[in-house]
């Protein structure tokens, strides 16, 4: 295997330890999804249930207090839309 490979053996740490924490974020799992969550800001009460129950940990709070999904990681499971108490989140086709 050449030293330009995805994982060149010359560059491996001792014991094949992975030294960079949280490096899985390099893989954008967002292209797994067929439906994406969309937030209706008028209905949103900023309760944060979508943030609490997102299995991808891709929700974060923006400066206005709304919780927004990072669509580059969202797998489109729909838990946020299902758990939203005011039905402010709907699942639909992703807008490019």
């Amino acid at each position: 295997m050449s030293d330009r490979a995805f994982v060149a053996w010359q560059k491996l740490a001792l014991g094949c330890a992975i030294l960079e924490p949280g490096s899985s974020a390099k893989l954008k799992t967002g292209d797994w999804k067929s439906l994406a969550p969309k937030l209706d800001e008028e209905k949103c009460i900023k309760c944060g249930k979508c943030f609490t129950y997102c299995p991808e940990f891709c929700y974060s709070e923006d400066k206005n207090g709304f919780f927004r999904a990072d669509l580059s990681y969202c797998k489109g499971c729909g838990i946020c839309a299902n758990e939203c108490p005011t039905e402010a989140i709907s699942m639909g086709k992703e807008e490019k």
Partner: protein, 327 residues
């Protein structure tokens, strides 16, 4: 045996001071709608940065550590199916020894062991039992998705009665899994450890507070977390959390804690829903006839009555304020 447990170091989480940072990064490879990884994230949110994670083979090991990447933001070690308990106790013993010899200073990090139900109930039971018996200070978290999901849904001893899996298939002469679910929290409580609890990710504050209590006790703690698996159970990915809630509301998976042998039912359901509501949304139970459902309802009622009898006989002292779930 009853014993008094010192919970003075317990730092309670309320709706206002919920820790937000999960030690599991985005980009992990879990299936769509996996509640198991969510539950694991909630545990690490409550524990915080200062921890060492020891992960038995299973879904959670595979999806977080596809080489050369890792989803973990804390020190993490993968161990075999058998020995999550043994390795976690080794880590704790090593840290204690290094502190004693003056090679490290400061408080000990929390030692966490994550394992699935197969790695806890079947393969790793003796390592777990040994670690609990030796009394190491660590938290063992069993993420119970009721079968061996990462290898393709084979039955474990934690699979409930009547569920179809690839090694207990339902058919003309088979009902699916023919034995009842092993009562692991009871086995762990029988080791006389200070803290045992069952948690559900649908009640996140309850879950995180149980983690905090497990951190506060001096000695081993065992947490049994109900983890919905849409792939293995055949349910829609979006209903993961509502299914976890339904399991508590139908008394299929009651939430309670055992503090030094004293029982505290943390979520009392006033009017339990029929167990049929829980069964009918999962494809693994779709072959069940009405008489089978009635049998399962009786099993659930019996276990609930047994738990209530235990809680009445050995009640836990009332906590100040009480860890109430915010709706």
């Amino acid at each position: 045996m009853l014993r008094d447990v010192d919970l003075s170091g317990y730092q309670k989480i309320t709706g206002k001071n919920v820790p937000r940072e999960s030690m599991v990064a985005s980009g992990h490879r879990a299936c769509q709608g996996c509640v198991e990884v969510l539950a694991m994230g909630m545990v690490t949110r409550a524990v915080g940065k200062d921890c060492i994670v020891c992960n038995a083979t299973g879904c959670m090991e595979i999806i977080t550590s596809s080489f050369p990447q890792t989803a973990w933001k804390t020190p993490w070690i993968h161990v075999a199916f058998e020995n999550a308990g043994a390795v976690a106790s080794g880590i704790e013993a090593a840290l204690t020894a290094m502190t004693r010899k003056g090679k490290r200073k400061g408080p000990l990090p929390t030692v966490l062991a994550f394992a699935g139900d197969g790695a806890t109930a079947d393969i790793g039971l003796q390592a777990l039992s040994g670690a609990l018996e030796r009394g190491h200070k660590f938290i063992y978290v069993c993420l119970d998705n009721e079968a061996y999901m990462n290898t393709g849904v084979q039955r474990s001893s934690s699979t409930p009665f009547g569920a179809t899996t690839t090694t207990s298939p339902a058919g003309k002469k088979s009902i699916g899994q023919s034995t009842r679910k092993k009562n692991l929290p009871a086995i762990c409580a029988a080791h006389d450890i200070p803290y045992v609890a069952t948690c559900s990710p649908a009640y996140h504050l309850d879950l995180m507070n149980k983690v905090r209590k497990a951190m506060a006790v001096d000695g081993p703690a065992y947490l049994h977390i109900y983890s919905v698996c849409p792939t293995g159970w055949g349910c829609k990915p979006e209903i993961g959390i509502s299914l976890a809630k339904l399991a508590v509301e139908t008394n299929v998976f009651p939430l309670y804690e055992v503090i030094g042998g004293r029982y505290n039912i943390t979520k009392k359901v006033a009017k339990p829903k029929p167990v049929l509501d829980y069964l009918k949304v999962q494809r693994r139970f779709r072959h069940l006839a009405e008489s089978d459902v009635a049998g399962i309802q009786k099993q659930v009622d019996d276990s609930w009555a047994y738990l209530n009898a235990l809680a009445a006989a050995f009640p836990a002292p009332k906590e100040k304020g009480g860890a109430k779930e915010e709706e």
